[in-house]
Amino acid sequence: MADLTTNVAGIRSPNPFWLASAPPTNSGYQVQRAFEAGWGGAVWKTMGDPILNVSSRFSAVSFGGNQVAGFNNIELISDRPLEVNLREIEETKRLYPEHAIIGSLMVEPDRDKWHEIVKRVEAAGVDGLELNFGCPHGMAERGMGSASGQVPELVRQQTAWVKEVARTPVIVKLTPNITDITFTAKAAVEGGADAVSMINTINSLSGVDLDSWNTIPNVDGKGAHGGYCGPAVKPIALNMVGECARTPGIDVPISGMGGVSSWQEAAEFMLMGASNVQVCTAAMHHGFRIVEDMIDGLSNYMDEKGLASLDQLIGQTVPKYSDWGDLDLTYRVAAKINNDVCINCNKCYIACEDTSHQCIDMLKDEDGNDILRVREDDCVGCNLCSIVCPVDGAIDMVEVARKVGDEPMTWNERQQLMANAGSNQ
């Protein structure tokens, strides 16, 4: 059986599944229930000056019958006194010494304030710290959270202040509300971060009620932007993890999160370079016990792949992640419709004819039955037909054999050859 123990910058946990800093980690009662269910670690809900919350805090986006495709919240950090949180951290650590507890912190960009909270939280026995430079709502209006996280110099400086006194590993949690997350990740590393985590939530508004014209959610008729998470944000998070993993200078472990709902997403994040994953929305949707399937699924997958430990999984896809200019322009796939499986719904034909490259013909076979056939030479391999097809196995995207003139060549190589050939002018 594969070894799922995890080490993120020196923070050890029995498995790679941590609860993210969020409502599920608001109290000792919850974190202890989570550890009992099997979670390897928990990032305690962000501590700082206790805040005041509003009522009507969460909303979700459902899509195509799937509940909670995305999740939006306007809840702020912990509203409980620091001392209460620390007492419960101490108790939880005593009861579950093998599980990781990471204290999430957020204070104003002030050196003394950072020093004070770091010392007090570490004294409670946490295994590490996570600096919340990511929350996009409420706290950002006060210069904290993503307001700090969007300014590389503030990330670097505050991380450095924390490192002046921290004795446990420091994880810097980054905001996705920025053009290029590698800038702030580098700033965190320059400040001395032992690891980075991503992504925090994305600025969002779930919707507008078409009867009342109120925003969703709203507080007595008035709304404010929230933070978006859940399955819908996974592709954004996965790219950000991959970009950081492949960028020189960001040579620290990454704790990945953003739409992790099952062992499969966890494995994807780890393949893209995450040392472990954090989960929130899936736990809020289905409860703490989802971790059982996550552990079983990941363990079975690793056994099937013949992997003994997570080190053999982490980062394996990173070398395959590149710039567009380094992709082969002449590699081709084309659609192949399997008419014995096809139900003739014609969704592929309509998609191709209306919105892609018009390379599917509606024909009759020798018995007069309707069939669809792809003109391979005109197919550009966009995949759209196979994406919209409702029947598994009805459309395969198959590799097209190279012909003379199809030798591998990237855009960057082509531009270099053009430059060498000289201009017409």
Binding site: T330, D378, D406, L417, G422, S423, Q425
Partner: protein, 75 residues
């Protein structure tokens, strides 16, 4: 015209010029596509390539030419 047919026409034009002894003398690109200047001694001919596959194909020829020049310089 189907994209592939368009490509085949432009590929034939390129191959014909090369078979006639022309070589690629220069290339430029703008909003209208790729303009490849073929030359044979004092004679020049500019071919306007519009199809994406032809604009890949002529680059393959440049690559082939660069590879052959490189092997000649080594021998």
């Amino acid at each position: 015209m189907k994209e592939h047919d368009h490509f085949l026409i432009e590929k034939d034009q390129i191959d014909e010029l090369l078979n006639d002894g022309f070589s690629i003398g220069g290339v430029s690109e703008n909003l209208e596509g790729t303009f490849v200047r073929f030359q044979k001694e004092a004679e020049t001919f500019t071919l306007h390539l519009e199809s994406p596959d032809a604009r890949k194909y002529f680059a393959f020829l440049l690559k082939q030419r660069a590879a052959s020049a490189s092997s000649e310089s080594l021998s």
